[in-house]
């Protein structure tokens, strides 16, 4: 589904990604872990189409398409979704309005008719229940005044409405209390199916107890240093990242 090869990314004078390669197949869940500042969010943002980053080398193909050639909205309509590490507050743009506009954009792209008001309301109600969000969040501005955890839940709500093929979650677990972590994990798991791929960026093994990954990668210094199965996450939790770096340096 997603194939990243030798990706080099620069922002201003700073080289952030240095030859990163990664293959994610349909139906798979991948976890990316790594020290602060190693380039995890940069990777996620570049894949979602954020401007301000320069791809100096390498390529990304998504379902056979050159992903980097598409504007962000086209990527979203093609099924790419990013749950932001820092969801953006947009006062004056209604939360439910954004959900509906996003859903209709995706449907239009697929050649489907716009969702009708009743259908949409029923859908939203169901998803909000799953996310254990109060309906009052619908009428508020996008993330406006939401607590840290509420913002993260709102990201997953958007995800579950848009039903992406490739979902990238950038530290969605950070700042969640234990119950909320469970809710978010349920939200993600409910999306899991053989046609979808999920990439989780996280610092904590705990999330992976709930959403079991097929592969775990260590991103450090702008490249993947080590990949393994879920036991790698447990090992990282115990031992930190230094040994991975040393191993890579020795190789």
């Amino acid at each position: 589904m997603l194939s990243i090869s030798n990706l080099h990314v620069r922002a201003g004078d700073r080289q952030i990604l240095n030859g990163l390669s990664l293959e994610v197949g349909a139906g798979e869940v991948h976890a990316i872990m790594g020290p602060n500042g190693s380039g995890k969010s940069t990777l996620a943002q570049v894949l979602a189409g954020r401007e301000g980053y320069e791809v100096t080398e390498g390529s990304v193909s998504y379902r056979g398409k050159d992903l980097l050639a598409l504007p962000p909205e086209e990527r979203a309509r093609e099924g790419v979704f990013l749950a932001f590490q820092y969801p953006v507050e947009i006062p004056g743009v209604n939360n439910v309005y954004l959900l509906k506009a996003g859903l209709n954009a995706v449907r239009k792209h697929r050649g489907e008719p716009e969702v009708d008001a009743f259908e949409f309301l029923a859908l939203i109600r169901e998803k909000m229940k799953l996310m254990q969000m109060d309906e009052s969040f619908l009428s508020r501005g996008v993330n406006e005044g939401f607590s840290g955890g509420e913002k993260k839940r709102n990201e997953i709500l958007q995800m579950s409405v848009l039903e992406p093929s490739l979902a990238m979650l950038d530290e969605t677990d950070s700042g969640l209390d234990i119950d909320a972590l469970r809710v978010v994990a349920d939200g993600v798991n409910s999306l899991r199916n053989p046609e979808r791929a999920i990439v989780l960026v996280t610092h904590y093994q705990r999330l992976l107890d709930y959403i079991e990954p097929d592969r775990v990668h260590v991103l450090s210094g702008g490249r993947i240093l080590k990949s393994g199965d879920k036991s790698l996450a447990l090992e990282l939790e115990k031992r930190g990242y230094d040994w991975v770096k040393q191993e890579a340096a020795a190789a």
């Binding site: 979602a48 401007e51 990527r75 947009i90 006062p91 004056g92 743009v93 309005y97 954004l98 954009a105």
Partner: protein, 444 residues
């Protein structure tokens, strides 16, 4: 004095004199008019050397030869009229002249009077003049010009406890294909104790294409007297054509516990300037100002507000937003003046501005002058561009760049628009803004 200055007049002012003499030589109020006119002549048009006109150059306005506007026949399909619908008390002025045919009035409730100033001046010039003289004024040059040339307008008088069931809607409409003309409309409000009023002031131009739209000059003056406990909700929509010079003056005097709220929405005109002066003279009086101005292309929109806290326990709240595009230029100067003795004043002011193109400009200047020691005053001003992170966030949800921009621009205007209490006005403004900011070419 007139004889002495006559010889030294600039050709432009000389032309105003000719127009004036020709029009009003036999007017019943010629003496009053001539006083005002001479004061106008003496002061002349303001120049950028006047602090209050630093950012707004009137050279172009001054150089034009405007005739005194005449009414013209206008065919308006009742279903297609350009003004806000659903107002039962509507006074329409065509090129500054009251049009009974286009106006409509409900029976007036007890103690509530609304009439055309032009009619009153015709029938009872002296009484009308006395009434005019008592109306609040800021004594500006343009008010003098207005006092010299004013021929029509609206008088609204409310006795104690009186109120209209519906808003009073005043429409000033320029017709297309005129020769260069000027109009000096006047609105006078006197609201007695505990009376209530909603006033909608709307300035429009027909045929806003380079050819159809005439070069015209609107010089409007509004005076509002609010007696104890009176409440007024005021909406002002300036949507004139792209070749219009628009100068407006609003002067408000509020007595004890009176409340004045205005939405000042300036979208049109080539050069537009509004002076809004509010005197909180009675303790417990309150003013609420919300403004939105949107200069585009080569429009210039200047707003100067001055709130004077004169009595103790007076409060004011001011929130102005500007959105500039193209080569549009906005100016906002908000002055809050707290007089000595106006203790317990609470004044808040905010000015936020959005620049949508690199060639757009907004100058904002909040000013506080405080001569009392026990007061709460705050002000803040920001000017910025569309938030690129928010833009990306919306696009990452599948929304096109153009739609995302429109959503963010409308969101910026939202705090002003959503506070419009009249549903008819709010709906009208929302539609207007949607048309204005959607489906446009994305600026590079």
């Amino acid at each position: 004095m007139s004889a002495a200055t006559a010889g030294t007049l600039s050709p432009k002012l000389e032309r105003y004199r000719e127009l004036f003499e020709k029009r009003f030589a036999s007017d019943a109020l010629i003496e009053h008019r001539r006083d005002a006119f001479n004061q106008f002549i003496q002061a002349g048009f303001p120049t950028p050397r006047d602090e209050a006109w630093k950012y707004t150059n009137l050279r172009r306005l001054e150089s034009r030869d405007f005739a005194v506007a005449e009414s013209a026949p206008v065919g308006i399909d009742p279903g297609q009229h350009p003004w806000i619908s659903c107002t039962a008390n509507r006074l329409v002025f065509i090129n500054g002249h009251w049009s009974p045919a286009l106006s409509s009035m409900m029976p007036q409730p007890p103690g509530a009077t609304v009439l055309s100033l032009g009619e009153w001046l015709k029938h009872e010039p002296e009484r009308a003049q006395a009434y005019l003289s008592n109306s609040p004024s800021a004594q500006t040059v343009f008010e003098r010009l207005n006092a010299a040339f004013a021929e029509d307008g609206v008088v609204i008088d409310l006795a104690a406890d009186a109120m209209f069931d519906e808003p009073v809607h005043v429409v000033h409409l320029w017709t297309a294909g005129l020769q260069s003309s000027m109009s000096h409309p006047r609105i006078i409000v006197r609201a007695g104790r505990n009376s209530r009023l909603t006033l909608i002031e709307q300035y429009l131009g027909l045929g806003d294409s380079a050819l159809g739209c005439s070069e015209v000059f609107t010089n409007s003056v509004v005076g509002v007297e609010l007696q104890n406990g009176a409440q007024m909700e005021h909406y002002r929509l300036q949507q004139e054509g792209s070749r219009t010079f628009h100068i407006g003056q609003i002067s408000v005097r509020a007595q004890e516990h009176a409340r004045y709220a205005i939405h000042d929405l300036a979208f049109g005109g080539l050069l537009s300037r509004l002076n809004l002066t509010i005197q909180l003279q009675g303790s417990g009086s309150h003013a609420e100002l919300k403004g939105l101005f949107t200069p585009d292309n080569s429009q210039h929109i200047d707003t100067q507000t001055r709130i004077e806290h004169i009595a103790p326990h007076t409060t004011s709240e001011e929130d102005y937003r500007g959105i500039a595009e193209g080569r549009g230029r906005g100016v906002f100067n908000g002055k809050v003046f707290v007089h000595q003795g106006a203790q317990k004043t609470d004044a808040r002011q905010s000015s936020r501005n959005l620049l949508l193109s690199p060639t757009a400009e907004i100058d904002t200047k909040p000013e506080l002058e405080i001569y009392a020691n026990d007061v709460k005053c705050s002000h803040g001003a920001t000017t910025g561009q569309l938030d690129t992170t928010a833009l990306f966030y919306l696009r990452s949800r599948g929304i096109s760049e153009n739609d995302a921009r429109t959503m963010l621009i409308q969101a910026f205007a939202q705090s002003i628009v959503s506070s419009i209490r009249s549903p008819e006005v709010r709906g009208y403004v929302e539609t207007l803004l949607k048309g204005r900011f959607s489906l446009r070419q994305v600026n590079p």
